[in-house]
Symmetry: C2
């Protein structure tokens, strides 16, 4: 969900700027996880954003994700899985966000989990390569600032490339 | 989760008695789903209990489930999966309940889903046989009032029998 269909980095940079008056640019983030890109004493408060009411509300939708997934839904059985268990306050907001922006995916096909190895699927499109390690299908890496140096998996840079691969 | 480690039927009968002054007994429920056991005009309000704040709070723990799962955790990788997506208000209460009563299961191994065919596991212990239809592993039916006539799957009547099977 985050960094694949929902742009949580934008919310992070927005709140980080508001609270610390530092503006993170794509150049700061290139090749790094968010917490690696900030001053060490800013890491704890930034981690807490994820368990703050409002963080996952109204996140921007990643470009073309709706149109491409809507087309894919005609040919594939789609599930949206998100590692929400680390941030229990996010459950309601993530659920509402999906109802708002991806209402063509039935709620029965939404999964809140922690460890994605529990997913029984043929493909997993994800920005975190560690989710592919014990995944039974094929992992497709969705490009994000933190994974640009990862070379082990098939990569898609955006939803247009997902469409080319699957449609 | 419900009817396997958490006794939701007890909460149902308790609230039903409170609101309609009818006491459901095991005899009423034998061989029936809850909604089949009540007067047709009571079905809608009963269904709404599931999406009412407090319903999943403090549910009784099914006998022996903690002790047996704690032992199983030494030998198996355990996940708790629950079809929570139909009742978004239940997310927080279900999560808290698991932290309270099953703290030895890490949050990474909790799954809120709808369709359990998404689970990649070897066994699924569940009271609803329909969850086994597209499940990739083996379904083990946990006896509940509504499934007593189901004969297609291996059955366990209680957690002592789960222990005999897996330990």
């Amino acid at each position: 969900m985050d960094e694949v269909i929902a742009d949580a980095v934008q919310r992070f940079t927005e709140w980080y700027h508001r609270d610390f008056n530092v503006l993170l640019t794509p150049e700061h983030l290139h090749g790094k996880r968010l917490l690696e890109a900030v001053a060490p004493d800013h890491r704890k408060p930034l981690r807490e954003y994820l368990d703050t009411v409002g963080f996952f509300q109204d996140l921007p939708v990643m470009p073309d994700s709706q149109a491409v997934l809507r087309q894919m839904a005609d040919r594939y059985e789609l599930f949206i899985a998100t590692a929400a268990m680390g941030f229990p306050l996010s459950f309601g907001e993530k659920f509402e966000w999906l109802r708002t922006h991806f209402d063509f995916i039935p709620t029965s096909h939404v999964v809140f989990c922690g460890d994605k190895s529990i997913l029984n699927a043929d493909y997993l499109i994800d920005d975190n390569a560690y989710n592919f390690r014990d995944f039974r299908g094929e992992g497709i890496l969705f490009t994000s600032h933190h994974n640009v140096h990862e070379t082990q998996y098939r990569r898609v840079n955006n939803w247009k490339e997902v469409a080319e691969m699957f449609l």
